[in-house]
Amino acid sequence: MLAALSPKLGTWSEAVRPDDELIAEVRSGHTAAFSELASRYRDRVERLCQRFFSDREVVRDLAQESFIRAFAGLSTYRAEMPFLGWLRAIVSNVCYDELRRRRRRPEELIADFSGPEANWLQLVDRSSPEQIVEAAEERREAHVLAHRLLDSLRPDDRMVMVLRESEGLSVDEVAAIMGWSEAKVKIRAFRARQFMRKHAESILSQAQRRVVT
């Protein structure tokens, strides 16, 4: 009985091993321990990448790139801060680099919508708040349109928007991750929110005009 359980117990005890212990193991040359760290945080890392990019393959590539950078820079990690915070900074910078590399045209307004996107807009415009929340979960077009809206932000603004709104980071945390001043983070946050609000309102009014015509 005990022998049968021992593998499971072994797995369980490995699963709850603290991050610092695994990091020390990797630093001492047991690089296999990093795969456990990666599997522990893979979902979190991919979820953060999904805030920036809708393409599943791109998200996986960026997550992979983030883990490679983390592995390469593990010697610079200081135990004073949580490993997740350190990893989040790496992921954010990887995504930021990719946003800048793509060089999207800043603040480009969405001119047209696909059929499903137009339907989603009409639903947002007409339905009750509860129906909107329920419908958003199962509609891909809701995610696609939201990504298109966020794509219209400049990379700096988008970084602040995601880190502040989605990750719930404070101004000084965002400033530390991005290497910016707190004033810059505040200005970017204000600017991004203002632009997104105006942009979303103009899109909703477009949808209303379509319904009227």
């Binding site: 989603w120 639903l123 415009d125 708040p129 958003a136 199962e138 995610h143 909703l204």
Partner: protein, 158 residues
């Protein structure tokens, strides 16, 4: 509930973490406040990316027709997944062949020499010694050199 509190609850409402009492208060407020209702609808446009706790696995999701009214049945004209499945492999085979053929045609078209007209042939054959005697000048500096070389000889009696 005032407007400030209502807007602060948007994220929790979206993530379904709001308790029942608070949720009812928020819905009542949204029903009576046009500004907050409008604000929630603009929030709903970006919330699927910024505030969703999880992302749906789109790779496993089969596309389906959109309906605005939940009681309205799906249109029967929508092709089933099985019917679409038979078409996809054929398209997958045809598209690469078409792309390769188009690329080969473009390569052949641009690698062939341009067709020569009668005027082109005459012009090519008319080798003008005067034109050919000019030094190659493809810059402003070349033109300056030509100007220096073309100084007229001094023919005065002195």
């Amino acid at each position: 509930m005032n407007c400030f509190a209502a807007r602060n609850d948007f994220v929790a409402f979206w993530q379904k973490t709001l308790d029942d009492e608070r949720r009812a208060q928020l819905l009542t407020h949204l029903g009576g406040c046009g500004a907050c209702d409008h604000s929630f609808r603009t929030f709903a446009l970006i919330a699927p990316v910024l505030y969703s706790a999880t992302e749906p696995d789109w790779n496993l999701e089969t596309p389906r027709p959109i309906r605005l009214n939940p009681e309205e049945p799906y249109p029967s004209s929508a092709p089933s997944t099985a019917k679409r499945g038979s078409l996809v492999p054929a398209v997958n085979r045809v598209v690469p062949v078409f792309v390769i053929a188009a690329a080969a045609a473009l390569v052949l078209y641009f690698s062939a020499p341009p067709r020569m007209t009668f005027e082109d042939a005459i012009a090519a054959d008319n080798s003008n010694a005067e034109v050919a005697s000019y030094p190659p000048t493809d810059s402003f500096f070349g033109q300056e050199l030509m100007a220096q070389n073309s100084t007229a000889p001094d023919l005065s009696d002195e």
